[in-house]
Symmetry: C2
Subunit: 180 residues, 2 copies
């Protein structure tokens, strides 16, 4: 295995959610890289069913945090990116899957710059309030906010939540045919 | 920006779908890395709603290719990974989004090893046939097959399909508030 392959696998493997951020702003060059990696995401039939709403205003981020408990990490993040999906009622499954791909790429692009990130969801009952707060038309699908910033290592440790484990490969891998 | 950040952003940015593969097998060490990167994917509430079915048998891959036109690239791939999602009827949206995150990571882990990949979907009307062919219980959600192998550059060029463009950032980025 080459060093490059090893480094890239370790990079992918090492992604974790960060929920506590230092107040330092995210450099513009990093934001541009993140948006470009997002822009080049693959999507079903290359329809690119997304727009990106970049938020640095603290008051706005706190408002979003108050709308959905799932998005509360936005309150202490210097940057939030809200994914505004097209909202084609015939393509909900495609958009949801593509939104997952897109979200993963945004988190990884942030990590490439030493930035932490966390996905927050507006649950269905809070989507309307999020759209209204951000001036987004009602017919769009607005589910995901990604908080981004430099990790506050001390606060992360203070949460004292153990690193989340994963199931071993022996439990989840099948070869050639599913074994019941 | 550090060299590492630049290299990682270029790596993320450069991912493309590969539909034509050389027959060379995928090394076991690469498969293990891909599965480990997959295993460490984030998911809603860390439920990890997935199992991975690793297929190298050509006949099986050809059978899958015949089941869904969307999966036809599996016919010439030395490796296919079928994502077997839990299929919790109350969590379809979560599983679909997590499946997108997972798929992107598998493609990137393949790319880390110089391997190309392509996502194929079993549309709803072909899911039952796919499950039956692979011995997967009916209650699972089986939508995604990811074909993996070394790119056949010549065949890729012969497809003469231009590289797929993406919308410019100026069209899809909003700052602070959505502009109508």
């Amino acid at each position: 295995m080459t060093n490059t392959a090893q480094e890239r696998i370790a990079f992918l493997r090492g992604l974790n959610a960060t929920r506590a951020f230092r107040p330092d702003p995210v450099p513009d060059a990093a934001i541009e890289d993140i948006l470009n990696v997002a822009r080049w995401s693959g999507s079903a039939s290359n329809v690119q069913p997304w727009e990106f709403l970049v938020i640095r205003n603290r008051e706005t981020l706190q408002k979003l945090a108050a709308i959905s408990p799932n998005v509360r990490h936005a309150a202490n993040a210097p940057l939030g990116i809200v994914l505004v999906m097209t909202g084609d009622p015939d393509k909900v499954t495609h958009e949801t899957y593509d939104e997952g791909r897109l979200s993963e790429r945004i988190m990884l692009a942030a990590e490439a710059h030493g930035l932490g990130s966390c996905i927050g969801w507006f649950r269905p009952e809070t989507m309307a309030a999020a759209k209204q707060a951000l001036g987004i038309p009602e017919n769009r699908l607005v589910r995901t906010e990604i908080s981004i910033g430099y990790p506050d290592e001390e606060a992360q440790r203070a949460r004292q939540k153990p690193a989340q484990a994963r199931k071993p490969l022996s439990e989840i891998v099948h070869e050639e045919r599913y074994r019941g």
